[in-house]
């Protein structure tokens, strides 16, 4: 059961990473990248590292999303 869940989470990380690379609009690509971080945090919890998971959740989800949104807003004219 646990191995199945880890496999599902890793497949979700793969799908969101693929979308983050392939999507041509900036905000959905950024959201997909942050989703990869969130699933990685769940994976760390299931694999037994809660401190790593807490750092990943705070930096990968909170901080990097805000910084990337700020960067997209500042460079809005450069979007293709």
């Amino acid at each position: 059961m646990l191995e199945l869940m880890v496999c599902l989470l890793c497949a979700s990380i793969l799908v969101s990473g693929f979308l983050a690379v392939r999507l041509d609009s900036l905000v959905p690509a950024m959201v997909s990248g942050s989703l990869a971080g969130l699933f990685a945090a769940v994976c760390y919890v299931v694999l037994g590292a809660p401190d790593v998971a807490m750092t990943e959740a705070s930096i990968g989800s909170g901080l990097s999303t805000l910084i990337l949104l700020y960067a997209i807003r500042r460079t809005a004219g450069a979007e293709e």
């Binding site: 609009s25 959740a57 805000l66």
Partner: protein
């Protein structure tokens, strides 16, 4: 009895992850994808809580707490960006 309830919860959480990722993959607009990410966040929090109960280590609930606060912040920031329409 309790084992059965936990297994049913695990199956429902797995279906939630599956359909959320499917919505993210097939989503037509930005709002669809943001809503899918928000739903997947809630499902992931419930998954961490379920695993904290199964593994009998309640330190994992702190991770779920931090996760909930920060993902709420991230979704709020994206929604504010979309509402402003820059």
């Amino acid at each position: 009895m309790a084992e059965g309830i936990l297994i049913v919860a695990a199956i429902l959480i797995s279906l939630g992850v599956l359909f959320g990722v499917l919505r993210l993959l097939l989503g037509r607009t930005v709002v669809d994808r943001v809503a899918a990410v928000d739903m997947l966040t809630v499902v992931s929090i419930s998954l961490i809580a379920l695993y904290a109960h199964v593994a009998d280590r309640f330190i994992y609930l702190d991770v779920a707490l931090v996760y909930g606060v920060l993902s709420f912040l991230a979704v709020l920031a994206v929604a504010r960006y979309l509402e402003r329409g820059v």
